[in-house]
């Protein structure tokens, strides 16, 4: 494998191999960038609902890419060509075997709880450095699930002015979750809400996930 045992400085960030593990970014740098994202969108919209939608769309793009990246990084199976050399297979059979083994080593989530726990743990860990505080099933509706967080990382330095009502910059994170779920085959409507907590000044944030009908039907069919 190229680069094993050598510490190589990559001048261009696009040349870095994506397998290169966890990267940490300065929180301040991200906070300023996110603040600018919100400000930019604010100048292009007429109302708050539109702003929320724009932030969600921005998050959606991130979510779709994050899923691809994590699935690529989580490959558990390492193929070695040397093992196949001694066997005399025709070439098209070689290729089929290689492809089949590669997929086997990286299982795609097909169950609801599987994908939810993937979002709650793996995606959160990679994006925010910690797993989400809690994952709950909604009591009122069958298709609702909630990921809660004491305070979203994106909201750490943001104080919403009183005249903006219930607007939450966590709409960006809701968009990320929607992007991940959509790309994984679980279409859903995802929104971010502030939930006031007894005895605490700052409200908790809840990401509410409402799955589409087809997801629940498929889940029921799979048993």
């Amino acid at each position: 494998m190229i680069g094993v045992g050598k510490i190589k400085q990559y001048t261009n960030v696009l040349e870095k191999p994506i397998n290169k593990g966890k990267q940490e970014v300065s929180l301040s740098a991200f906070a300023f960038l996110f603040s600018e994202l919100v400000q930019y969108n604010q100048t292009h919209v007429d109302n708050i609902a539109e702003l929320e939608r724009r932030l969600e769309d921005a998050g959606y793009a991130v979510g779709a890419r994050v899923l691809e990246l994590l699935c690529h990084r989580e490959k558990l199976c390492h193929i070695s060509w040397a093992g196949f050399e001694s066997l005399s297979f025709p070439s098209h059979v070689w290729i089929r075997l290689f492809v089949e083994t590669a997929i086997e080593g990286n299982r795609r989530e097909t169950r609801l709880l599987g994908i939810l726990s993937f979002v709650h743990s793996t995606v959160w860990k990679v994006l925010f450095g910690k797993v989400a505080d809690s994952l709950e099933k909604g009591t009122e509706h069958e298709d609702e699930y909630m990921i809660s967080e004491k305070e979203l990382l994106v909201n750490r330095f943001i104080s919403i002015p009183k005249d903006m009502g219930t607007f939450n910059c966590g709409a960006f994170v809701a968009g990320i979750v929607r992007g991940v779920l959509d790309s994984a085959g679980f279409p859903a409507v995802v929104t971010a809400h502030f939930v006031p907590v007894e005895g605490q000044q700052r409200p908790r944030t809840t990401i509410l996930i409402k799955f589409a009908e087809e997801v629940l039907q498929r889940e029921a069919r799979l048993g």
């Binding site: 300023f32 603040s35 994202l37 400000q39 604010q42 943001i158």
Partner: protein
Amino acid sequence: MAAIYSLFIINKSGGLIFYKDYGSAGRMDTNDSLRVASLWHSMHAISQQLSPTFGCSGIELLEADTFDLHCFQSLTGTKFFVVCEPGTQHMESLLKVIYELYTDYVLKNPFYEMEMPIRCELFDCNLSQAIQKDRVALLGR
């Protein structure tokens, strides 16, 4: 025993963007605080010109009979000054802490307009905590 009487933050043009009074007898209304802030801004600028030493960055400490005034000017021209009891220690470090809170909870807030009055809930919360911590540490000494 409140060591700190009041805190002012003024922008680079001398306009008052934040004023907090900590229960002193000399509580000012909005107009007075605006006037005092711009007065200080001018005095600070004049002192830079009047200074006999080269490379003076303005008044850092003003000692009077009934109060002390500690001033910190950031590289961008934003001034943080605190009026406190005479002889209060460690005001410089408190001002640095307040500056850090300003950069975190005001400058990273997308809803804050530069040079405008500060209306950030998180800044107020964390500021109260910092002042309280300082007060407790002071009583402990």
